[in-house]
Amino acid sequence: MRIKSSLENYILVLPALLIFSVFYIIPFIWVFQLSLFDWDGILPVKTFVALANFKEILFQDSSWWQAMRNAGYITLVALTFQNALAFLLALACDRQIRMKNFYRVVFFIPPILSEIVVGMVWRFIINDVDGANIINRFFYGIGMPQLAHNWLTDPDIALTTVAIVHSWKGFGWGFLIFLAGLQTIPRELYEAARVDGANAWGCFKKITFPSMVPVIVLVAILTILGTMQAFALILGLVGGEFAGHTSVPVLRILSVMRDSSRFGYACAQGLSFGVILVVISFIQYRLSKRYRQR
């Protein structure tokens, strides 16, 4: 009877297991297998190269590491500027302010827009070649022409422009999660602290921030994972890698696969990238755990 019951249970989870295997586990194994080969994606013959693809990524592919550095920079801006903005706005909306529901909706609009659309709209806003160049016109209008720049065509500024537009698009997610986190903090804690004479900064330091650490870690991990993998926004905004100045890992993988027809190498890049993301997330998780234990 017990065996029959177990068997029935296993049969019930079988469809989910099958779907998970077909769409996740098997492709992952296949990608790993391909990463050990030199293959053009068409010929039935694949040449086994062992770990040569990984070796090339590590020691020879400077464009890959430039893309990683660029993605790291965009992520750094997202982790600091984007998440700080999201946190501040969430704090503001958590208080009893007028029209807070309106703000919640407005702040959540950018994240639900398509990345490519956001990229193209911002290109129109800030580009002086094929766009309206609204930002530079504004600077000229207020008598500060020294602030006007070629936001997308100056190689020294283009990546920062990408990072800021990406932050504009992404802060709504953080805002929403931070707000949900803030609303779970019992109000009684604040009332008790105030009775004990704590001011606003004291409440924030001793109650809000420690209570929000797990949420901050979650948002940080989601930010890292989302930002490091960003590419559609860059395509829409800059049109591509801009001589390497705005290249990011996913654009490199696409380029290797599409232009060089090196499927094995692209798979190796994808795996290396995945490992890097997992390691970063794990380190962050461990650090936050240590902080909470303290």
Binding site: S5, E8, I11, L12, P15, D40, G41, I42, L43, P44, V49, A52, E56, Q60, S63, N127, D128, V129, D130, N150, L152, T153, D154, P155, A158, V238, G239, G240, E241, F242, A243, G244, S255, R258, D259, S260, S261
Partner: protein, 435 residues
């Protein structure tokens, strides 16, 4: 409760199976249907109209399936090849090396025999360079049996264009484009003084840069040296290559290039030229249709890129624009070949050219296309294409070279630095291939 779950599971399984079986292709009786996959959004209505005419004539249904954009199409064809589910007729986008891989994997039918029937009746209707792009010569480095493997349906050339009205406005003779590079650079001052932009092109796309650089490489050092470089016998640090790279620096320094050219996709460049904001454009013959849609009043003409040297003649990139291949594993390959033969007949080619403003691959139809379009075909004798050189530069080298030119234009690197970087990548690629 458990029984109910079990029934639900059985029902669910059947439901899923019925969905998947609904995705299977059905096989009807009667005249065969030939399926064609393509990526040409602008030509889709005209191709479907021709399919209707063909069905009315022969009873054979031609099913054109559009998968755009071209990147997505390209991936779809590769995935279909891996799953052995290619349609009866398809196109291969990419380099000659990819085309060769499709042939070697047994996916493409050799058409040499069909083309040669009746003393080459079919073969002779095409521009020779359009056909050459679809063929492999004796001793080709791809290891493909020599022969013809594709049917060109249109051709293209990539050339310089100039706006005749803006030429007049600048006080220049609208029938005399610049004859050499010095004269070309010299126009920059006048153009800037008039508040206009000089040369526009989609140089955010590496292949467009590679195209113009290739033209000048042929002009400065000749085809043998270019091919020797691709073979690894001449380094990219050779003074002739530095000269080629320096042309881009000269164009930038003279102020001839529109600002933001290195992040510009070709569609944007076309918009700028169509809106009469730029005097020159570097673009392909497909632009006739694009400009017609954007600004029907635009007055422009075509000219060869102004030569930078008298050493060798100027060449342009040209050949087959779009080609179709027949699936060698298709049960309907004979019907597919017959349809392609009909599609490339004079009348159908003239119709396609008229409806889509693309140059026909059939040379007998060229007299029936608009003048501006025909002017692109006049320089067909100067056209060349990497797919007919027998060797092809590897994509990573092209990428480093193209990005390097972008860096020269934005003032981040010198021609010498770019040449050295390209050579380093070339050596890396040569070492990889030797392994």
């Amino acid at each position: 409760m458990l029984k109910l779950k079990f029934h639900f599971f059985v029902f669910g399984t059947f439901f899923m199976l019925s969905i998947f079986s609904g995705c299977m292709p059905s096989h009807g009786a009667g005249k065969p249907t030939v399926t064609v996959w393509h990526w040409m959004t602008d030509r889709d209505p005209a191709l479907k109209e021709l399919a209707k005419r063909y069905e009315a004539k022969t009873g054979i249904k031609i099913n054109f399936e559009l998968y755009a954009p071209s990147d997505a199409y390209s991936q779809k064809v590769r995935a279909a090849a891996q799953g052995a589910s290619l349609p009866d007729i398809f196109g291969i986008l990419g380099e000659k090396r990819d085309f060769a891989s499709f042939i070697k994997a047994g996916f493409v039918l050799e058409l040499t025999g069909y083309m040669g029937e009746n003393s080459g009746e079919w073969e002779n209707v095409f521009f020779s360079k359009a056909l050459a792009v679809n063929g492999f010569n004796d001793g080709n480095t791809y290891g493909v049996k020599p022969g013809i493997y594709g049917v060109p349906i249109d051709i293209m050339t990539i050339q310089m264009l100039y706006n005749k009205s803006l030429f007049k406005k600048l006080g220049l003779n609208p029938d005399k484009p610049p004859k050499d590079f010095t004269e070309f650079l010299g126009m920059a001052k006048k153009i800037k003084a008039a508040g206009l932009q000089g040369l526009v092109s989609g140089w955010g796309e590496i292949w467009m840069i590679d195209c113009l650089a290739g033209n000048y490489a042929f002009n400065i050092m000749g085809p043998d040296k270019v091919i020797a470089t691709i073979k690894g016998e001449v380094p990219y640090t050779d003074p002739d290559w530095i000269k080629v790279l320096s042309l881009f620096k000269d164009m930038q320094e003279s102020g001839l290039l529109v600002s933001g050219i290195v992040t510009m996709v070709n569609k944007t460049a076309e918009q700028i030229f169509a809106n009469e904001k730029a005097v020159f454009a570097f673009n392909g013959s497909w632009c006739v249709n694009v400009y017609k849609g954007m600004n029907p009043e635009l007055k422009y003409a075509v000219f060869l890129p102004p030569k930078a040297s008298d050493n060798y003649p100027m060449v342009i990139r040209g050949g087959a624009g779009s080609s179709f291949m027949v699936n060698a594993r298709s049960s309907k390959k004979e019907e597919a070949v017959k349809f392609l033969r009909w599609l490339t007949d004079d009348d159908q080619q003239a119709y396609l050219a008229e409806a889509t403003n693309n140059l026909p691959a059939n040379k007998n139809s060229i007299s029936r296309v608009p003048e501006i379009l025909a002017s692109f075909a006049k320089s067909m004798d100067c056209a060349t294409h990497p797919n007919i050189w027998g060797v092809r530069e590897s994509a990573p080298v092209i990428e480093v070279f193209g990005k390097g030119i972008q860096s020269i234009i934005i003032g981040k690197k010198s021609p010498e630095q770019v040449a050295a970087e390209t050579q380093r990548m070339k050596e890396r690629e040569l070492a990889r291939k030797r392994k």
